[in-house]
Symmetry: C2
Subunit: 147 residues, 2 copies
């Protein structure tokens, strides 16, 4: 096993952590926290998702999630419908205003990434994205991402 490879990957991890940190700080305009937005996104992507599904999906503490849901309910961004065949759980959906708010936030992140890419030459941009796709592919193969 090549030590240089290990160092390189660690360097990349540091680099990318910092980058994402900056991105997150910028787009988190203070209104919502990252986990909150991820919850909105999860519901947006999968209307009717249940809390326990989100817990697995986002690897989240259930009490933490429960409170996030309560907050969004109070804001009328989320609605709950009891699951007919299971009286313990709820189907979560975005309300119209919840959807609107999510779209708005989502557009903001989109634009932020756009801004980064727009500073690159066409060639760099292509290479960048291709590299990202490759990394994702390689690390998604079985084994690499286990807990």
């Amino acid at each position: 096993m090549d030590n240089n490879h290990i160092s390189e990957m660690r360097a990349f991890n540091r680099f990318y952590t910092a980058l994402i940190g900056v991105l997150n700080k910028k787009f988190l305009n203070g209104k919502y926290s990252l986990p909150e937005l991820r919850v909105l996104q999860a519901i947006h992507l999968q209307e009717g998702i249940t809390a326990s599904e989100i817990i697995v999906l986002l690897n989240m503490d259930k009490s933490y999630l429960s409170r996030i849901i309560v907050r969004f309910e109070k804001k009328r961004f989320i609605s709950k419908k009891t699951v007919p065949e299971d009286g313990r759980s709820y189907h979560l959906c975005l309300t119209a205003s919840g959807k609107k708010e999510f779209i708005k936030q989502d557009a903001a992140t989109h634009n932020q990434v756009k801004e980064i890419l727009s500073q690159l030459s066409d060639n760099d941009c292509k290479t960048l994205i291709a590299s990202m796709v490759r990394i994702k592919e390689i690390l998604s193969k079985p084994g690499a991402e286990k807990k």
Copy 2:
């Protein structure tokens, strides 16, 4: 500007955030927090660094850092020497046991990354690292990482 590229980059960000999250959870054996380790690392890499330099380097709140330093001082991991030409600041150094502890922690992360890479074929590993290097290069060019 290609919307697909933007989506790909966002997908990568989500993917890599999750990966780093898992890594961090694993190696943060509970003993130290991430910022704490980054502080140790900063001092390790640059013996005699001052608090205000760390603040810039790690983009950290000074009160937060101050308390981290106090904790490490109490553990005898860090020593302070006043800067001769500036009575307000201190040169920070790792003590022998501080260094030892840092090395230990550092080895743990190293092994963790090693484990990931060891699950890949030689080819995948090479491609992965090359991709990481390329991403870092491209995004380090002026403009892309500004606050």
